[in-house]
């Protein structure tokens, strides 16, 4: 195999000098568990590295450049686009051991943390001091800050608070030549030069290795109200989303789950979800003032009822709220109960097109005879249609490819995009040109060429060959 030829014993001992013996893993067992992420895709790396400092990452990249070895950076491997699967072998570089929160600067409301800090740990640390870091991908307990930035992760709260990139003020990255670059800083405003934070956020490890970040914090909302609205029709639920937002209410989250999603979660967690509803909306309002938070949730509940919700339940206490959120966060993994494999996309459409895109997704499911479960962040038009299938059946596997293509066409057709928060990774490459057009692709390829002329950083991702 190619990568085995490249990774000679002398290279391994160079790497050991940099990352320590414990930080260089190359047994068949080690390689096998770094071949996957949160998808079914798999490809083995030639070596696994677990560096502890930015300096080590820089030295590793220098070795890799000299030897032309691909480097695929990764956090905890929960990505859903096969972005951190080392599809061309080489170095799997896990940042999980760079997990220190370096500074919580209350005066400037920023936190400085290494890339490997678990997102939920970062949130707990700042919340203990009364601050709030809103981005909340469902994987927040098993994903890292660095991975979130590399994929510009979203989550339910993004409807009100924005995505990961909206909180990135500064980054420390290792470039493809091994040099260390600090971008941005603690300033809220900064228009000097191109916005490299924005360029690197969402670059999926193709432009640099992110090792550290300065993240913006906001005041922790004091009050939350959460409601679950049950609908007899999926279409009714979809239409209600628009009505709530049109009424001027900005919920912290506005999530939709269809009947299969409800059934899977209920089977897994026994939370008492309605098994006979065709869809539910999970709505949360939050803020600093209890009265307005309550008023908003009541207004949203009222709109749900008017639009045909047969029952709206407002969580009575924190435990009930936590269980509703646990339900929502568990949907994606719980689908594993229904079929050996699932392919979850995250198409996004302008929110007025939500009812129509749902109709089209259901039609695609009907046409090919494979279930498509629909849930997601309806409030911002970001849906997660999940195709359930068995990869071992070649017939089904072929259909999945066709279905994905049709899902993407539907999204683009309605003025939407391929991915709201998962990223392109390996999975969406073939559709990129259709989504962006040739001019945009050419510009982006030239940026990639400028920053990584040897194409050693996560090759085979994002761009079509």
């Amino acid at each position: 195999m190619e990568e085995e030829i490249m990774l000679t014993q002398s290279i391994l001992s160079q790497l050991e000098k940099i990352a320590g013996r414990d930080g260089v893993r190359s047994s068949p067992e080690d390689l096998a568990v770094y071949g996957y992420d949160g998808t079914f895709e798999e490809s083995r790396p030639g070596v696994v590295l677990l560096p502890r400092t930015t300096g080590q990452v820089s030295q590793i990249v220098e070795v890799a450049v000299a030897q032309r070895i691909p480097i695929v950076a990764r956090g905890m491997g929960s990505g859903l686009a096969a972005g951190s699967v080392p599809s061309r072998g080489g170095i799997a570089l896990a940042t999980t051991r760079m997990n220190r929160i370096l500074e919580i600067d209350a005066a400037n409301a920023v936190v400085r943390a290494e890339a490997g800090v678990v997102t939920a740990d970062l949130q707990t640390a700042v919340e203990n001091l009364g601050w709030f870091y809103p981005p909340d991908p469902s994987s927040l307990r098993h994903a890292t800050v660095g991975g979130n930035i590399a994929c510009n992760a979203g989550g339910p709260r993004c409807l009100k608070y924005g995505v990961t990139g909206d909180y990135v003020l500064g980054l420390t990255v290792v470039l493809a030549n091994g040099r260390i670059l600090h971008t941005g800083g603690k300033c809220i405003k900064d228009v000097v030069g191109f916005d490299l934070n924005a360029l690197f956020t969402g670059s999926e490890g193709t432009l640099c290795v992110i090792t550290e970040a300065v993240l913006r914090l906001i005041a922790l909302p004091k009050f939350f109200r959460t409601a679950l609205a049950e609908f007899v029709s999926l279409d009714g639920a979809a239409r209600t989303v628009d009505s709530i937002l049109a009424a001027g209410i900005v919920p912290a989250a506005l999530e939709l789950m269809d009947e299969t999603a409800i059934a899977c979660v209920e089977e897994a967690m026994h939370l008492g979800l309605p098994l006979d509803a065709e869809a539910v909306l999970l709505i949360e309002t939050d803020g600093a003032d209890e009265e307005s938070v309550s008023r908003e949730i009541e207004a949203a509940a009222g709109i749900c009822r008017k639009r045909g919700a047969r029952r709206v339940r407002v969580a009575g206490d924190e435990a009930e709220r936590a269980s509703l959120w646990q339900a929502r966060r568990s949907v994606s993994p719980a689908l594993g109960r229904k079929a050996p494999n699932k392919l979850g996309e995250d198409i996004t459409v302008p929110r007025s097109a939500i009812p129509e895109v749902i109709r089209r997704l259901k039609a695609i499911s009907g046409k090919y005879g494979l279930p498509v479960v629909i849930f997601g962040h309806a409030g911002d038009g970001n849906l997660h249609p999940n195709i359930l299938f068995d990869k071992r059946d070649p017939g089904q596997w072929k259909k999945v490819g066709q279905m994905v293509e049709e899902e993407f066409s539907a999204a683009l057709d309605l003025g939407g995009t391929l991915s709201g928060e998962h990223g392109v990774g390996a999975f969406k490459r073939p559709y990129l040109e259709k989504a962006l057009g040739p001019v945009s692709i050419e510009i982006q390829k030239r940026i990639k060429q400028a920053l990584d002329p040897l194409n050693i950083l996560n090759p085979g991702k994002i761009f079509p060959d």
Partner: protein, 425 residues
């Protein structure tokens, strides 16, 4: 290495539907310390699957990863698909043991643990060490410092040892105080018998005080947990049959144990012998009667203790009690019954302590790392006492407290209850 010609292999249903979501990484104590995928449930499951499929050799290193699991069951609980990665790791140890049985395991699990008198003889020198005052001397003269760190840690695990194993002292039948309302079998676990004898004696007193005629069959053998975790379920089956027979003879309504580990295994005898036509029904009936002591005490009208214990007390959930048996509310309620006792909840109370049977010996550093997390949480409670109902956890917590220089006692919750009763008299 050739694939073993194994009679037993885990079934496809135990791993096929892993969707690699990664939820289990968040709760796995070994992953959270090593931050390396190979130490995660998802990683172990992937290795098991690839080993079984033939994509990887069933190498010693692959099996070592199965032994690196602390079997705390946290992944079983969180898996949204309903897989049980911790169980799979233990089953893979069986696959290895079948392919290449190891002599020492056969000796220990096949012979010694099945014979209480051998186990007692083997641990005799330790009791002598305590009894002759050698231990006190070692501490007093500061000679412990001369022992290598690792051995010192093993020594610190040992509680004050009883003069004689409890089995040899406890009457076969302890009459109920007052009117006998229940006939209860008391399953005396090995660690309780050999090391925490005074606490099990207290447990029997508490039962008798609350209307139980307590029958303690003397000839019971090890519940089987060590054999199970070293990949020898066939030894466990033999031990199970022996124990079931004895308890049937004792003619009791319930079988109570004050050991979290024993309880979780005894409750599994039904499943373990489900495919044995002679024993499946008897084993199921046996398992249905097994109760952890806190679980049982709260199911009967319990005398309110009159004595006060004016202490701040916290509680650590043994994995095999909380997740293994779903018992977590009851021990807390027992503690809260005691007047003067200031109960404070422990942060991450159900996070593994790191002992996991023998991990301190087999995976020394990881075990200590996991323990440190627990010890930090214990320190934050500022409690003077931590209660827990598992002898293995108790030893490990004592070690953590000792290493961090905390001023904290480790006790069984029922021993505290016993103390409150005796103070009220």
């Amino acid at each position: 290495m050739p694939q073993p010609n194994a009679a037993f292999l885990p079934s496809e249903a135990e791993y096929l539907s892993c969707i690699r979501c990664g939820l289990c990484l968040a709760v796995c104590p070994t992953y959270r310390e090593s931050l390396n995928e190979i130490d995660s449930p998802r990683g172990r499951l992937a290795l098991a699957r690839k080993g079984i499929d033939g994509e990887l050799n069933l190498s010693p290193n692959l099996f070592e990863q199965m032994y690196a699991c602390f079997d705390c069951l946290a992944c079983n609980e969180i898996c949204p698909v309903g897989l049980r990665p911790a169980d799979l790791a233990v089953e893979m140890r069986r696959v290895q043991e079948q392919a290449r049985p190891q002599r020492w395991k056969k000796m220990v699990f096949g012979e010694i643990v099945r014979r209480p008198e051998l186990l007692e003889a083997a641990t005799g020198p330790l009791r002598l060490y305590e009894r002759l005052g050698l231990r006190r001397l070692l501490y007093r003269l500061g000679l412990r410092k001369l022992i290598p760190r690792r051995l010192r840690d093993m020594e610190a695990l040992l509680p004050p040892l009883p003069r004689r194993p409890l089995r040899l002292r406890l009457p076969e039948v302890t009459p109920a105080r007052g009117v006998g309302r229940y006939r209860v079998g008391f399953f005396l676990g090995c660690a309780q018998n050999l090391m925490f004898a005074e606490e099990s004696a207290a447990a029997v007193r508490v039962l008798a005080r609350n209307g139980c005629t307590v029958v303690t069959p003397r000839e019971t053998v090890c519940c089987g947990m060590p054999a199970m975790s070293f990949g020898r379920p066939d030894d466990v089956r033999r031990q199970a049959i022996h124990n079931i027979r004895l308890c049937e003879k004792a003619d009791v309504e319930v079988i109570v144990t004050d050991c979290a580990t024993c309880g979780s295994v005894l409750k599994d005898y039904g499943k373990l012998l489900a495919d044995d036509p002679d024993w499946s029904e008897r084993a199921a009936a046996f398992s249905a009667r097994v109760r952890d002591i806190s679980e049982f005490l709260l199911s009967i009208p319990l005398e309110k203790p009159q004595g006060r214990i004016g202490k701040r007390v916290t509680y650590h959930d043994p994995c095999h009690l909380r997740r293994g048996q779903g018992v977590w509310r009851q021990p807390r309620e027992l503690l809260k019954m005691i007047d003067g006792l200031d109960f404070v909840e422990l942060s991450e109370a159900d996070w593994c302590c790191g002992m996991a049977g023998t991990q301190l010996i087999t995976h020394y550093q990881t075990s200590l790392d996991v323990l440190q997390r627990k010890t930090d949480n214990l320190a934050a409670t500022q409690a003077g006492t931590v209660a827990t109902g598992c002898p293995v956890c108790r030893m490990q917590l004592s070690l953590g407290i000792h290493r961090s220089g905390l001023d904290m006692q480790v006790v069984h919750p029922v021993a505290l209850l016993d103390r409150a009763y005796s103070r009220g008299e």
